[in-house]
């Protein structure tokens, strides 16, 4: 598979289809890979593929430093490719501006990432080329997809509050979670705005709660569950639980899952007249 990837990359660079290939290279340790940006056909041997290819490389579509390199081909797993669908819908990229080398994937991470346990996109839903043997994308039932949430949803109000306060307390406001997120693409995040100062920049309990809730909420109905934010959080806050909770609510209320169907309206920029309003008085 690595050979196939390299060959594909070489071909695309040689025939001028793209200027750069965003892929995975060897990392600092054997248990790690790192993003690499291949601009010369002779460098394609730097590309690799293994279970440590956790990164969602679409995040580099938002960075001016990597945009500068020219039209990219991106090596994308099924989950990552879902980002493309959201980015297209949200008018952040044009289809012709990216070339997608989809890879079929059996799961990444060691131990296996939680997102992979309930993966229904082993074969990407959108690609220009597919590398790897095509897998059947089996549907995973709703309950199973959100099973991770059960034990937390069960908690009482006070226990929930205490659990999250303990988590948020750790936050050091490094913003790795939003910087890594391919869908956190605002040039200036709300937390960086101080006229008015909506979110306290201090990493104290008050500022941390409003930051973490706001970050999660801004991804509501958009997050494609790549789990990158949780992976990079240096203090190990289970951000994925917040994201998943929102995904679950969006799916339950609007019957919508981001990144699956390019024809679906974006959940948060549309409405239905009969949307649920049981909680309204």
């Amino acid at each position: 598979m690595i050979e196939e990837l390299r060959k594909k990359a070489e071909e695309l660079l040689k025939n001028g289809t793209v200027k750069v290939v965003f892929g995975y290279g060897e990392g600092s340790t054997p248990e790690r890979t790192r993003p690499v940006f291949i601009t010369k056909p002779e460098d394609v041997n730097k590309l690799t593929w293994n279970k440590y290819c956790v990164y969602n490389l679409t995040t580099y579509l938002k960075r001016q430093e990597t945009r500068k390199l020219g039209k990219p081909a991106l090596i994308l797993k099924g989950c990552d490719a879902r980002t493309i669908i959201v980015l297209l819908k949200e008018c952040q990229i044009k289809r012709e501006d990216v070339y997608i080398i989809g890879v079929t994937c059996d799961g990444v991470g060691d131990p296996l990432a939680t997102k992979c346990e309930a993966c229904d996109v082993h074969t990407p839903l959108i690609y220009d080329d597919l590398v790897g043997e095509k897998r059947e994308n089996k549907e995973v039932p709703f309950e199973e997809r959100y099973a991770e949430l059960d034990e937390y949803e069960k908690l009482g109000e006070k226990e929930k509050w205490e659990f999250w306060q303990k988590q948020f307390e750790k936050c050091i406001k490094c913003y790795a979670c939003s910087n890594i997120c391919p869908l956190c693409f605002c040039d200036r995040c709300i937390v960086e705005k101080n006229q008015p100062q909506w979110i306290d920049p201090s990493a104290h309990p008050r500022g941390n709660l409003s930051w973490n809730v706001t970050r999660a909420y801004h991804l509501a109905g958009r997050c494609i569950n790549c789990e990158e934010c949780q992976r990079v959080c240096p203090v190990d806050i289970p951000l994925n639980l917040l994201n998943k909770k929102l995904a679950k609510e969006a799916e339950k209320s609007f019957n919508y899952r981001p990144g699956y169907n390019i024809d679906d309206e974006l959940a948060m920029s549309t409405y239905k007249e009969d949307d649920d309003q049981d909680f309204f008085k």
């Binding site: 929930k160 999250w164 709300i190 909506w198 201090s202 008050r206 809730v213 999660a216 609510e249 209320s253």
Partner: protein, 158 residues
């Protein structure tokens, strides 16, 4: 020391066209209701960012009301529909984080529903009074100033 009765602070975010006018009607009709509510008038419920709610709790609110035009009556056609979507996901998120959803209430109150306004306010004040002060949240103000019922600094009003 005599025990002082807890009086909840309720912040109401109202749309200009319906609920605010409804509250006005209650006033001109000289209807009585509990005086625990402070109203913030906005053009439309569609313009209420969830951060407003968070800020209100940070600043000492014990309960929040968000209210606007009935579906189909929005002055801007669809603002309230968009708002409804937002609260559909934001409310469970707060609940997931351990915030009692009863501290935040949503309602549709038209300009003609002065009576419903009175009922709604009385009901949320009673509910929140029973829940008690939102100490959990207010205690988070460990570094920043303890803020209650004060005007914001100029920089905060942008």
């Amino acid at each position: 020391m005599s025990e002082t009765k807890f009086e909840p602070k309720i912040i109401a975010f109202l749309c200009n066209w319906c609920t605010y006018a409804g509250a006005d009607l209650a006033g001109t009709g000289r209807k009585q209701y509990q005086a625990n509510v402070r109203i913030i008038k906005l053009p439309c419920t569609g313009g209420i960012d969830p951060l407003f709610l968070i800020k209100a709790f940070e600043r000492g609110a014990d309960g929040i009301l968000v209210s606007g035009c009935h579906p189909g009556d929005c002055h801007y056609n669809s603002g309230n529909y968009h708002a409804r979507r937002r609260w559909n996901v934001f409310r469970p998120l707060l609940e997931f984080c351990g915030i009692n959803p009863d501290r935040i209430q949503f309602s549709w109150i038209s300009a003609a529903e002065g009576g419903k306004w009175v009922e709604t306010i009385n009901s949320i004040v009673d509910t929140v009074r029973a829940l008690g002060p939102f100490e959990g949240y207010h205690k988070l103000n460990t570094i920043g100033p303890e803020i209650s019922g004060e005007a914001a600094a100029p920089s905060e009003t942008g």
